[in-house]
């Protein structure tokens, strides 16, 4: 199997989440990864793009969400980049802690970590956050 890459640049709108998910599903489908893994990738991508659109770019039309997809013999890797101010992922409260269970929000990063094998963030000092997510075959 060869390495395949693909890039997308999408507007900072809510409908971008479904557009990105469809594009990633198409890419992942061609990668030959299992259905279970594809489901997890779909969940994680939707959450990552939601965060980029809402919290990173704050739905600013002049900012884009840039997605890089890479399929290799070992894994599928997805990076989602926004142009927001960044945040500290370690400071996000655990949504499964007793005091947070009935909160209406705050589960997106938890889902990304639950469904992917690796998730890390690169916060650029000049602005912009990239979340890199990897799912092994």
């Amino acid at each position: 199997m060869t390495v395949e890459t693909s890039e997308l640049s999408l507007p900072s709108r809510i409908d971008t989440i479904a557009t990105a998910a469809a594009a990633v599903a198409d890419f992942v489908g061609r990668s030959g990864i299992s259905d279970d893994a594809a489901f997890g990738i779909d969940m994680a991508v939707r959450e990552a793009v939601t965060n980029a659109v809402l919290h990173g770019n704050r739905q600013d039309d002049e900012k884009t969400v840039d997605i890089t997809l890479k399929s290799s013999p070992d894994a599928v890797e997805i990076s989602v980049h926004d142009q927001g101010p960044g945040f500290n992922p370690e400071a996000v409260p655990d949504p499964t802690a007793q005091e947070n269970i009935l909160k209406a929000s705050g589960r997106g990063i938890f889902f990304m970590r639950s469904f992917m094998d690796e998730v890390d963030w690169l916060i650029r000092p000049g602005g912009g956050t990239t979340v890199r997510m990897l799912k092994r075959r």
Binding site: I17, R46, E47, T50, P95, T96, I101, L102, R107, F111
Partner: protein, 116 residues
Amino acid sequence: MAELNINERQAGDVTVLDLSGKITIGEGSVALRAGIRRLLEEGKKRILLNLAGVSYVDSSGIGELVSSYTAIGKEDGGQLKLLNLTQKIRDLLTITKLLTVFDVYDNEAEALNSYK
């Protein structure tokens, strides 16, 4: 077609909402929120959500289920219960530790009886 379709029916004093589609950020979550709000305005506080036709829920949708649960729970005699979870939704509620928060049923008659 709407992202989330909601069909309402009455079983005694329990209102059953048959949901089909996706409960995701944007249209699906908003539709569920509006549906629950309307029922509460009509004084319908015993609500059973039938999720058999729900193919997908994201973190926003899980959040909306939690919001519905807490909003209905604040009403005197208000109760929200869940019916017919798909395996994927059950998995999401399990990892978020919400499965033990919600009253969950696989059988509609049992669910309806539980309100008595």
